[in-house]
Symmetry: C2
Subunit: 790 residues, 2 copies
């Protein structure tokens, strides 16, 4: 928080230390410039190679690459964000083709989609060739990922040609290869996380299999019992259907009961006849729904953990391995020791992290070369990848631009009063209350039309709030990259203002309220209410944890997308155009039974599920979501069975087992583990080192300031701040560092720290081949080797 | 497994060692008898006191008791299984009164139930007075449990008198105090486990509260959004109900959607109008159903773990404390050391574990007094409680009774052949196949009537199997206490035989198939199929884990019972006789709307839910189970709202939050933890010591025999086997020990071992007061003290 008013005493005590630190930064900057002449003679190729290793270590990339200068340059290109973005563009384009192909949301002619698909294949081939040039030949063909992609490209190509020919000749065909498209998403090297999730599932399979068999055994037994008990009693369900009439029927009902989707309906006819029959169903629910489903979760969770630990071990060993290689490239002999000179290290940093601030770099150097000998030893150098991953935030007591332009007015007593009011806690509380009142008004709006005019008042209040804050805090600080809530507030309110104005204009021009614009205005107004949550400390902690695990949750979204896509493509081939939706107010008699007489008077049609069909990729996805949520999945299953074939049940069973029993449980396991790690982890050893160093240099942020400045944390991500120091007329500003909160850390990073604390710092791990072996493919086989090595 | 055929060579190699061990057992037995004369002079009172401490340590009882001889004797009586059984009898009787009181399943006059209740109160008072005599006065009144019970007794008494008076005067009243009955179940000292589960919940509350508030905030926001978006569009659901018509209505729909019970029905009208509206529901489901529900589980799980660790720490410290006290009572000075003489130890064992076998006792002594000095030091003595908890199984190569009676025939080559066939693996597989075929026949039975006669053949086969096994293995071995599957098989088959015969008799006498008897026969036949599961190793592992955690699952059953009971009593007072069930085939027009015109054409009545009512305690329990399973809970909620008042929703909401969000999550957390412990734990250090000793003495079971004898493990729980050694004419039999498999261990014990391995063996823990403080009441406050001590 800006402290220009100058009351703080803590600043003065550390002023001297800061000055010294800044001087030394200056000196080092100078010396680093001198070194440049020397570095000119240093082989640039070597530097690039070392930087590639360091980058790989920093971002946990595990791509084996050739070390020839040409290959290294290609490798840089391969990892460049542009080439990656292009690859992703084509992957998404390829997947998006499903929207335009028959059955299409927006139909395009076959030649158009075929050309686009051919272009995608070309791009994939190019990417693969690029990868082949980077990686050693023998490794390339050993990697199943590459073989997968090659086979998929060929298969799609063949399918495309056959289908194209048939289409030209007027025959219709099935584009089987469409189901292979997610392979490109999964198998290009960038989707490491999704692949890991798939490995997790694969490794869990054997163990979950046995639980599943046992579970199916109980379902089979209870179905047999149920059939025998109820068949002879001629019970009928409320729909008039016969009860447990044959074995497959009983089995279906009992399996659905596990998912609770037909509870208590399946029990009621029997229960009505005799109270004791309820015991049969209660025992079944306890055993299968509660115990077995929990056991599934337990098995998945245990395996997930085991798996995770192995993966993290591998990552950590790979990181060390790469850092060691980088060290061997850059090392020079200093006496008896191999060391890296600080000048070389600075060169390296310019390649690895060019956008890091100069002062931040010097801070890191202080940590790596603790005794300021001008070089660093291997042990220090190995920590560099971790140091780079820790977000150190450079904080500045920035001076408000207004103070520069109109210092007299800005520092007048009236202005000071305003600024003090805005900085006061009460200001935040006051606006929390306003938001709360606003919420009540929104709720009552419909009853009292006048209230809608009050909305203008609230909008004005919110705008005033933002303007006042911009007056008090420097705009650059207020809109710093990490100020999520400030951005959120401002954007929502500007959008709301615009939409309200548009709506008012429309109304005055045409006496017409656009429902869509009104909806948008309304959503924006409700979104504004969310901010109240951030004012409460306990809520913020939970939200931070959730935001922290968001990236990995997106991995699961990717995983789920792949599975959905495959099921959707398959489902469309099997179920397309079997069920039709005739629009919400259709008078067509066929609308009653979704255009299929088989559905006449079925539960599916009566509940109005006609729009739950596989007639295009988007409907398919929505049906699959409904199946994931489970409730009424049996109605959907029976509906599609009625219009096709009893065997279609298999599709829905498989989907349930794969998505609900496997993937959702892995998702829950992930959240459990993430919370467990968040709860149990303190700062890592590396972070403590940095923090200590920051404090030693006297450039830390006192604790009390940190806690005070919760609304507008006066922080900024790294930028070349020292470059501005020389601007004339500006008095020296407090330059401060602090470590970014855990909010910006991934679970992966947390886990790596967790494992590293168990690991001997001297332990370089097993040789590279062993590390690679314990990788992706068979984690179980390599496990014993590994345990002995650890 | 019996090895009379004598091929095994392993026996002979260890024969000498065994002989030596047996001799020493004999000598020790003799010396122990000599000691008796000496022990006579040893103060019996002290012994009883020490034994009380050891027993408490063994069974983790934490009741503070006076040490006066009189109090100790009362304490023995207090812990006697008879007095405990009587207490439980009255607790159950008291709870069961709900079956007979209005609204009753079987109505009894008020005077009858009142007299029974008064008797129960008398019993509870007696138990409490007994406890007061045992425990120190100041502790008694400090203990909230006791105060709870006293208050509850008084409240019930007052209520009983008022209700009785009013009833005599002809007024009707409400028996409010019935809701207090579970207090007796929870607060008597024996229900330690249920209390612990309640504590777990209480300690989880603050943290889950914040997550819940955040969760409710999102529900409120989405409801507001939903109402605004859909209200103006005049959508109607499939039942013709208006859509999101007011805020409370929207809130209810959205809350139900979290439980997925109205998915996708609540989405369909909006989705039919515009595909984009589905996004609103999908986002809501992802955030609330998936993320928030997982977070609830994560928070509960984390707290459960933290809580568990504290509880276990306390138990371990208490155990050590008690064992130390026992040691100080029994110790004598031997040189400079305080020790316990073996003779005193044997006396102690006679009191603590009178039914332990003599050889088992000597085995323990060998472990405690390793160097056979005739006394044991404190460190050894402390391990005694753990040693007693480890089930050591004495195994004997028992001689078949037939071999004694008709040795010639039994050992003839024909007999030997039969016995070898039965012992062969193929015999087991053969019967697995028969069971499998039987299962298929059962499934087809109805189509081909002749098949039902085949059943007699199967029955004969099963009986033959059992007879053959009894011929091969000694009956006493076959029906040993741990032979669960043998017992299971035999009982099921005898019952099936009896029932089939009864049915056949009935049929031949009256040409009438009793459906009930047929059902029982059928259930027994299906039960028989279960045995196939035990033949497969991987299934057995899972089942063993489940059996292992069964006792703690029963704790949860107790917890759930208490919560259900309270809700059921409350529900009966509010909802009784509002909804009526007219029998399955009633022609009464009121049956259509459950006897309440308000329900005419309601979903509740149309689905035939009339029997889901609160008209007696059993129906209430079944309704509550249905609410726990969640599906259709909104239908039940709306049904009861229609016949009472909108505020009745609160009852169902509270039930959902308490049972589904809290208790079910704690149950899942428990299963997760149990599996985690089962997976990660090896044998404890104490077990290893015993095992080593058993091997040293040469009385272990060779590994290969253990794995071979999976069907009939020739084991037997401890009994005074050596007493039979002297029987004339019997050749010396192999006497062997082995440690019972993990199957017989509780999760509690596993956890204690887990924690003890982290604990310094010298650590006696904090002083008693600190241990007691960190107990039940406020685990959080005592936490820091504890961490510093650990």
């Amino acid at each position: 928080m800006s402290k220009e008013t100058g009351e703080s005493a803590t600043y003065k005590t550390t002023a001297k230390k800061q000055l010294r630190f800044k001087e030394s930064v200056e000196i080092n900057r100078a010396s680093s410039q001198q070194d440049d002449s020397f570095v000119g003679s240093f082989e640039h190729q070597k530097l690039l190679l070392a930087a590639a290793y360091v980058s790989d270590a920093q971002f946990s990339r595990n791509i084996p690459f050739e070390t020839s200068p040409h290959a290294v340059r290609l490798y840089y290109l391969y990892n460049h964000w542009m080439t990656q973005a292009v690859t992703y563009f084509f992957i998404i384009l390829n997947l998006a083709l499903a929207v335009f192909e028959d059955p299409a949301v927006y139909a395009l002619p076959v030649w158009a989609t075929s050309i686009v698909e051919a272009a995608c294949l070309l791009a994939f081939t190019g990417r693969l060739v690029h990868f082949a040039k980077v990686t050693p030949k023998d490794r390339f063909w050993k990697d199943r990922k590459n073989i997968c992609v090659v086979v998929a490209i060929l298969a799609v190509l063949v399918d495309l040609i056959i289908y194209g020919t048939m289409h030209t000749l007027g025959h219709s065909g099935v584009r089987y290869s469409r189901i292979l498209r997610p392979i490109f998403l999964v198998n290009f090297a960038e989707s490491r996380q999704i692949r890991r999730a798939f490995r997790s599932i694969r490794n869990t399979l054997p163990e979950i299999m046995y639980v599943f068999l046992l579970f199916m055994f109980t379902v089979l037994m209870f179905s047999l019992l149920g059939m025998k008990l109820f068949k002879k009693r001629n019970l009928v369900t409320i729909d008039g259907k016969q009860y447990f009439k044959d074995y497959l029927d009983a089995l279906f009902d009992m399996y659905v009961l596990v998912t609770t989707a037909n509870s208590p309906d399946v029990m009621m006819p029997a229960y009505d006849i005799n109270g004791w029959y309820s015991i049969f169903f209660l025992v079944y629910i306890i055993i299968n729904t509660y115990i077995f489903m929990s056991v599934f979760l337990a098995v998945v969770y245990n395996n997930y953990r085991k798996q995770l630990k192995n993966e993290i071990k591998k990552l950590v060993y790979m990181k060390r391995h790469k850092m060691t290689q980088a060290f061997h490239i850059l090392k020079v002999e200093e006496g008896t020791k191999s060391v890296i000179k600080n000048s070389h290290w600075r060169e390296l940093m310019n390649v690895v992290a060019p956008d890091i601030s100069c002062s931040h770099r010097e801070l890191l150097l202080r940590i790596l070369d603790e005794e300021q000998k001008g070089y660093m030893v291997k042990e220090s150098f190995l920590r560099m990848a971790d140091l780079l991953n820790i977000k150190v935030i450079t904080m500045k007591s920035r001076i408000h631009s207004l103070e520069l332009w109109i210092p007299r007015i800005y520092n007048s007593s009236g202005s000071l009063l305003i600024r003090r009011i805005v900085q006061h806690k009460g200001f935040v509380y006051c606006f929390d209350v306003i938001i709360f009142i606003n919420a009540i008004f929104i709720g009552m709006e419909d009853e009292y039309v006048l209230i809608s005019y009050v909305e203008w008042g609230f909008l004005a209040l919110y705008i005033t709030e933002i303007l006042l804050k911009l007056y008090t805090y420097d705009p650059r600080t207020f809109f710093a990259r990490t100020q999520f809530w400030n951005w959120f507030d401002t954007l929502v309110i500007i959008a709301a203002l615009l939409a309200t104005v548009v709506n008012a204009t429309l109304k005055s021009l045409s006496q017409y309220n656009s429902q869509e614009v009104l909806d948008i205005v309304f959503i924006l107004r409700v979104l504004r209410l969310i901010r109240i949550v951030d004012s409460i400390q306990r809520f913020r902690v939970i939200i931070n944890t959730l935001l922290n695990i968001m990236p990995t949750m997106l991995t699961f979204a990717g995983l789920l997308f792949v599975v959905y896509y495959v099921f959707a493509i398959f489902g469309m081939e099997v179920f397309k155009d079997r069920i039709h939706f005739y629009g919400p107010n259709s008078t067509d008699p066929a609308a009653k039974y979704c255009g299929s007489t088989a559905l006449n008077n079925s539960v599916f049609a009566n509940l109005g599920y006609c729009k739950n069909n596989f007639n295009n990729i988007i409907s398919s996805f929505i049906v699959l979501v409904e199946l994931t949520v489970v409730n009424q999945w049996h109605v959907i299953t029976i509906g599609f069975e009625m219009v096709t074939h009893p065997a279609s049940r298999i599709y829905f069973f498989v989907f349930h087992i794969v998505v609900v029993i496997l993937i959702i449980n892995i998702f829950i396991a992930f959240i459990l583990e993430a919370f467990f790690v968040e709860y149990s982890l303190d700062r890592s050893e590396v972070e403590t080192t940095i923090e200590k160093k920051i404090q030693e240099q006297g450039v830390g942020i006192p604790e009390e300031e940190l806690t005070k400045g919760s609304l507008v944390e006066d922080m900024e991500t790294s930028e070349n701040d020292l470059a501005n120091t020389d601007e004339p007329g500006i008095r020296p500003r407090g330059l401060k560092f602090r470590i970014a909160s855990k909010r910006y850390k991934t679970v992966d990073a947390l886990l790596q720290h967790m494992f590293e604390s168990e690991l001997d710092p001297e332990d370089d791990g097993p040789p590279l081949d062993t590390i690679l072996e314990m990788s992706d493919e068979d984690i179980y086989i390599s496990n014993p080797t590994f345990d002995s090595a650890a």
